[in-house]
């Protein structure tokens, strides 16, 4: 049977816990070979979405397919094609690195003759060579995550679902982990990853922003950044406290955020407001080291989008 693209598809997908909808009306298409990021605040429905596609939660409403399997009827069969890594994935601590890999290989019916070969490849890939005999409980946090990833890859899944794989991992390991994901993606794996980090969202081909159970936007990182209403200015004043006091609430200044000794100002129109801001600060005797327009960052785009949603709801 020819497997149709997209590899993940849903129509009006919803999941309810009691009366509350954790995910609602989700229409999603993820193409084979994509690296797709799920972002959004805590409780937005990222984990529920991934669990639905992993076949761990029954569907309350709508339809979903993964790797050509209908998740409402063929969830068990779909599990063979999916590699799912739970957010709180903890390995079997009393088992060694190799024993963990062999365990998952057996559960996924990997040809016994091939297990050792694949395991060696995966360990090399994840930078875990030389740790084969070490018990998982004695690995560092970053190494545990890499081993967990190796375990979800042992059956060569068609699609990877990773739920916040780098939460609680130090920055260096985080970077290493993403390099591995990048390599996997280059080799053709489809990866769906949820993350609270905006720099990680930036590494994805497309990003879906979830908010209160709905996917409010789904686009490339660049397109998302362009959605920021108004322009972003970076101001480096002599005294950021005084500058902040002066500028907060000024007409045309939509937001003031502090970044160390710099201020990020979201304004409605950079061309109009830059001279006004300069004049106002001089008036108040606050020195300016630099003031320039800067491209919006993912984080600001998201915060603005979520604030918009909140105001719309309030209206």
């Amino acid at each position: 049977m020819e497997i149709p693209d997209p590899i993940i598809r849903s129509r009006g997908l919803g999941r309810r816990f009691g009366k509350a909808w954790a995910v609602e009306g989700l229409d999603l298409e993820i193409q084979r070979g994509e690296l797709f990021g799920l972002v959004g605040p805590d409780g937005a429905g990222k984990t529920t979405t991934l669990r639905l596609f992993a076949g761990l939660l029954s569907i309350s409403e709508g339809e979903a397919w993964i790797a050509a399997y209908d998740l409402s009827r063929q969830a068990e069969a779909a599990k063979r094609k999916v590699g799912y890594m739970a957010q709180e994935f903890s390995l079997y601590g009393e088992l060694s690195v190799m024993e963990n890999l062999r365990f998952f290989a057996a559960i996924f019916d990997v040809d016994p003759q091939e297990v050792e070969l694949r395991a060696a490849d995966l360990l090399a890939f994840a930078g875990l060579e030389g740790f084969e005999g070490r018990r998982a409980v004695h690995l560092s946090g970053g190494m545990k995550k890499k081993l967990a990833l190796a375990c979800t890859l042992i059956h060569e899944p068609e699609v990877l679902l990773l739920d916040e794989p780098t939460t609680g991992v130090d920055p260096v390991s985080r970077r290493e982990f993403w390099e591995i994901l990048g390599d996997l993606n280059l080799l053709g794996s489809t990866i769906v990853v949820s993350t609270p980090y905006m720099d990680e969202a930036d590494r994805c081909m497309r990003v879906g922003l979830m908010y209160e159970g709905r996917m409010i936007i789904c686009d490339t990182p660049e397109a998302l950044r362009r959605r920021l209403p108004g322009d972003l200015l970076e101001l480096r004043p002599e005294d950021w406290r005084a500058a902040r006091r002066t500028l907060a609430g000024m007409q045309g200044v939509l937001e003031v955020q502090t970044y160390g000794e710099a201020l990020h100002l979201v304004v409605d129109d950079a061309g109009v407001r830059m001279p006004e801001i300069q004049a106002r600060l001089e008036e108040e005797g606050v020195g300016i080291r630099s003031l320039r327009q800067t491209p919006p960052r993912m984080e600001q785009a998201f915060i603005s989008l979520i604030r918009q949603m909140d105001t719309q709801e309030a209206d």
Partner: protein, 377 residues
């Protein structure tokens, strides 16, 4: 069902048992420790119960009577007191558990064969010691009477038997000395051998708590493969204990094993299967190890204590309790262990209980598999 999956789970669980020290101790040594603890806690031999005497008679006969009472090591003579108030004070302070009061005409009535005016006061807050004192005073009083009066009676031409009109000779079969341990140990063994049920409930809850169960649910593993694979190593550990327990009973407590050991082993496997299935049900329903522990105590161990007939005869229970007792593997297994240890009976007597164990095991596993979903929440 895939044997490879089942074996993978069983192997993983075995590593966990062998390598995690607390699990290892809990699973392998807990039954032995529990048996020793309970055997000693529950069969404390009462001896040296302290008593005082209030002697209103103050005669040589009353004094030698007290000496006779205090002769053995079962009762300890605290001393003579002068008043009831003194007795009360001593009882309240716990210095004595019983007191004997002899009437002023104690020796006169004794010698004239009118009886033995004797009062025993016991500490009602500790009825066991009190009852013990009553038994032993009665027994020694009878002896004293016989010794003191035999000559006199014979002189009067009255046969000694008139003092003891009922000639009741009690014989305790299968436990000739009526030693509490001999009857209790097999019952206790049946209870402590159910201990792996707690471990398997905890092991399942542990996986749920640590997120490894979520990971397993995202794999194609079958429910039966997972549950049976998890049970298997605990059954093996249980079997090791099944072999060890009769050895311990004989070497340490001097409790004999009269039955056919191979049969005992087989029936024990049935029991382990049934009781572990109970543990699996608990593990399936409980989200945390703390909850699993609490429910195991509530469903397996407390009923094991009170309902399986180890301490309280099932026949004396209200009907509802008797029905509940029938649903506990421990009830049937306690009968099997007692039978095999003490009377040495075989399948000809024990088959209904063996059948019940199999039925319960299958029913519990079925319930566990039915309610265990490879879905979250």
């Amino acid at each position: 069902m895939s044997w490879r999956h089942l074996l993978a789970v069983a192997r993983k669980e075995t590593y966990h048992i062998l390598r995690d020290r607390s699990t290892f101790i809990l699973v392998l040594l807990a039954p032995t420790l529990l048996l020793l603890l309970m055997a000693y806690a529950l069969t404390v031999d009462i001896e040296r119960v302290p008593f005082a005497a209030l002697d209103h008679d103050r005669s040589p006969i009353s004094r030698s009577f007290i000496q006779g009472i205090a002769a053995g090591k079962d009762l300890d003579f605290y001393g003579y007191v002068g008043s009831l108030e003194e007795i009360e004070a001593l009882l309240v302070r716990g210095e004595i558990k019983a007191a004997l009061i002899m009437a002023p005409d104690f020796s006169r009535r004794l010698l004239s064969l009118e009886g033995m005016p004797l009062q025993i006061i016991i500490d009602g807050t500790e009825p066991e010691s009190g009852a013990f004192a009553v038994d032993h005073v009665g027994w020694r009083a009878e002896q004293f009477l016989r010794d003191q009066l035999s000559a006199q009676l014979q002189a009067m031409g009255i046969p000694l038997d008139t003092l003891q009109p009922v000639d009741l000779r009690v014989r305790a079969w299968f436990n000739p000395g009526l030693e509490p341990r001999v009857d209790l140990i097999p019952g206790l063994i049946s209870m402590v051998l159910g201990f792996p049920a707690l471990s398997v409930a905890l092991a399942l809850a542990h996986e749920r708590e640590h997120g490894t169960l979520e990971q397993l649910m995202a794999t194609p593993i079958g429910r039966a493969e997972l549950l049976l694979g998890k049970m298997a190593p605990y059954i093996l550990v249980g079997m090791a204990n099944v072999i060890f327990m009769p050895v311990l009973a004989r070497a340490w407590f001097d409790v004999p094993f009269h039955g056919n050991f191979a049969l005992f082993f087989l029936l024990s496997i049935f029991f382990l299967f049934a009781v572990l299935s109970m543990g699996v049900i608990i593990g399936v329903f409980m989200r945390t190890q703390a909850a699993a522990l609490a429910l195991s105590l509530l469903l397996i161990f407390f009923p094991g204590f009170f309902l399986t007939g180890i301490f309280f005869p099932i026949a004396a229970m209200p009907e509802v309790m008797r029905l509940e007792a029938l649903g506990l593997p421990g009830t049937h297994y306690a009968i099997i262990t007692r039978g095999m240890f003490l009377t040495g009976v075989g399948l000809e007597v024990l088959w209904p209980y063996a059948v019940m164990l199999i039925v319960l095991g299958l029913a519990f596993t079925g319930v566990a598999a039915l309610f265990f979903r490879k879905r979250l929440a």
